[in-house]
């Protein structure tokens, strides 16, 4: 059953109730409870195609988004994100409840998952070959990811590369792509047909909005893809579009630096990272114009593997 099949009033009711709503995003299921209206609205807008477990016996993560049980419930209201009953972030202003849920869902994976190798990277795919874009925040990887997805690439994730520790293939989450500040308008004009949620202002990262994942990406989230390209993007105002090959050893080091649980996996983490690099071609990429950037990636041929 897809989330969109639940009428909005019922969705709100279920989210506020003790059972909540269990969403299946890629390999993980998350039980979400929240009496907050903007959370229900955000889920209805952005997660419509996502599968819901009707009577879930199981969830990988159990989260809540709600007001604190203090005077800050009424006075300059705040909101909390709780994972298994524990608040994991500082409280935020109440209107930021939905972006907080999104950050929290990322946190659940990075804090708890040790049976997949995880990198801080956006991942999109063409056929069954993955383009991995590892980069720190502010490098324009989400914008690039959104642009590629709007141009027909399959979305795996804008934040997390999930590598199967046995097969070395990548799995997707197909959750909304988070857009910040100027990139919201960039994506709106680049892809007028894509659904972008109403912006939420004054967050930790400025103004935030989310791009709805395409239905095809959601449905194929679990179909494994093989690594093909590892590209380190950098947005630079006014820069020419420039794709330069990067030596594999240095790409390896940079990718490992962006791993969340590389050390936990020890030797296995090292081998999987090395495999991934060996099966890919690696580049540095500087850009300022999204259409040129997308054209560059559309023209790339995957390595034979």
């Amino acid at each position: 059953m897809r989330l969109a099949e639940i009428p909005e009033a019922q969705l709100r009711h279920r989210l506020a109730g003790p059972e909540g709503v269990t969403l299946v995003t890629g390999p993980f299921s998350t039980r979400i409870r929240s009496p907050v209206a903007s959370v229900a609205r955000g889920l209805a807008d952005l997660y419509g195609d996502v599968r819901v477990e009707p009577d879930a016996d199981w969830a990988d993560f159990h989260v809540q988004v709600r007001a604190p049980r203090t005077p800050r419930r009424w006075f300059r209201p705040q909101v909390l994100f709780l994972s298994e009953g524990r608040s994991v972030f500082k409280p935020l202003a109440f209107h930021q409840a939905f972006p907080m849920l999104e950050w929290g869902l990322n946190w659940c994976v990075t804090a708890n998952v040790k049976h997949h190798l995880l990198f801080h990277a956006a991942v999109v795919a063409r056929e069954d070959r993955a383009l991995i874009l590892p980069a720190p925040p502010g490098s324009g990887k989400s914008t690039l990811c959104a642009g590629l997805v709007a141009s027909g690439w399959r979305l795996l994730s804008d934040e997390l590369a999930i590598v199967d520790v046995e097969a070395g293939t990548l799995t997707g989450l197909a959750r909304p792509v988070s857009l910040k500040n100027a990139s919201i308008e960039v994506i709106r004009s680049f892809a007028p047909d894509a659904f972008v949620s109403d912006p939420c202002h004054d967050t930790l990262k400025g103004t935030v909005a989310h791009l709805r994942p395409p239905r095809a990406s959601v449905d194929r989230a679990l179909a494994p893809v093989r690594p093909a390209w590892v590209v380190f993007p950098r947005f630079e105002p006014g820069a020419e579009t420039r794709l330069t090959p990067r030596v594999r050893t240095s790409a390896f080091m940079e990718l490992a630096r962006n791993a969340f649980n590389y050390t936990v996996l020890g030797r296995l983490g090292f081998r999987r990272t090395a495999d991934l690099i060996e099966r890919s071609v690696c580049y540095d990429f500087t850009y300022s114009r999204l259409d040129e950037a997308v054209a560059t990636f559309n023209a790339m041929e995957p390595p034979s593997a």
Binding site: D57, H62, E84, R86, V88, N112
Partner: protein
């Protein structure tokens, strides 16, 4: 009834009878996973599932999390053993041979609770008279003191039973150097020379030693039942259960005699009494009747015993899955107060609380971490 004692959590009953793991439904597994996550017991549960029915009998979505927990514990154990080798070399220069405590001791001595267990830092015990020499030696080797405010330094050095936690400048590991198992300020401080005199070399050629079996169990009990933070209480109780079960199977009555005698000599029988009582209730630990009756001489009066049982058992249950969140919160708070009450005489306590409430610099470090966490995830 509000006065009735809570039944053990599902996690606790699985730790008590690991054979139950093979028969859990997916819904029950979801519960066990959440409880084990909070108590840092994922690796332990994975080990138990493997040795009781095999990981294949665990439902598919659960298996990955357990496997990850075991993986994390294995890497952690490797890191701890490596850290111990470094430490051995660093203290070997000054001919000091400390005894390992808690997690590091379990990992190094491969006690029955070691497989799958996580430990965050290394704890060592040195003689009181040598604590300054140990600190100087460690500083030369790159260990730096933390908690730099004057009050915190004084808190540790004058009132506690350990130096302020040290951190290695290159390796980033944390080290707690103890000279006793209870603070200086308790009403009757144990005689720590007994612990060091009976410590046993590990026999792995490293020269490191761990406490004698009875002392290891005693320290485990004292640590938990004087502590105010019970998030991982079930893990500590499971440590105690495994130690007592393993050592009594090995040494029989000798172990129980040594446990009783030494608890008495160290003036900590009451902690052992509480630990055995809770671990019998929650984990079904087998204890000879004579040990129970010998320790009951140390037991508080009937009403106080009931109140303590109520507090311990509610506090040991898991917060998020608790059916009684209010009682749970009351009992955790009560334990926090109790631990301060045990550790400090009233006037000192009043002064400490006043400082913490009004004068201490705000702990922004924890907030900064949280903020960074949010910053990295979106």
């Amino acid at each position: 009834m509000p006065w009735s004692l809570p039944p053990p959590d599902l996690l606790a009953s699985c730790l008590a009878q690991p054979a139950r793991l093979a028969a859990l439904s997916l819904r029950q597994w979801a519960r066990v996973l959440v409880q084990a996550r909070e108590a840092s017991l994922l690796g332990t549960v994975c080990h138990l599932a493997e040795t009781h029915g095999g990981l294949e009998s665990v439902p598919e979505p659960v298996r990955g999390h357990l496997w990850g927990g075991r993986m994390a514990a294995e890497r952690n154990a490797e890191a701890i053993l490596w850290e111990l080798r470094c430490l051995q070399r660093e203290l070997g220069w000054v001919k000091m041979q400390p005894a390992l405590l808690k997690g590091a001791a379990y990992v190094a001595a491969q006690t029955p609770n070691a497989p799958g267990r996580l430990c965050n830092d290394v704890d060592i015990l040195v003689p009181r008279a040598e604590i300054d020499r140990a600190e100087t030696a460690l500083r030369w080797m790159g260990w730096m003191t933390t908690h730099l405010t004057a009050y915190d330094q004084r808190y540790y050095r004058e009132w506690m039973h350990e130096l302020p936690p040290m951190e290695h400048m290159r390796r980033g590991s944390t080290l707690d150097v103890h000279h006793n198992i209870l603070p200086e300020t308790v009403r009757r401080q144990p005689d720590a020379t007994r612990l060091l005199a009976q410590a046993r070399p590990l026999g792995d050629g490293s020269g490191a030693s761990v406490l004698a079996p009875h002392h290891m169990a005693i320290h485990c009990a004292v640590h938990l039942f004087s502590d105010g933070e019970w998030e991982t209480a079930i893990r500590d109780l499971y440590d105690f259960h495994c130690l007592v079960k393993g050592f009594s199977a090995e040494q029989g009555e000798l172990f129980w005699d040594a446990l009783l005698d030494e608890a008495d000599a160290l003036a900590v029988s009451v902690y052992v009494h509480h630990a055995l009582r809770c671990s019998r209730h929650l984990l079904g630990t087998r204890v000879p009747g004579r040990v129970i009756s010998a320790l009951s001489a140390q037991a508080p009066g009937r009403l106080r015993q009931w109140a303590l049982d109520w507090v311990f058992l509610h506090a040991a249950s898991h917060r998020f899955t608790s059916r009684r969140p209010v009682r749970h919160a009351i009992s955790r708070l009560a334990l926090l107060w109790r631990s301060h009450w045990i550790k400090m005489p009233p006037l000192l306590l009043l002064r400490h609380l006043f400082y913490k409430a009004f004068l201490a610099p705000r702990d922004d470090a924890a907030d900064a971490v949280k903020e960074q966490g949010a910053g990295r995830h979106g």
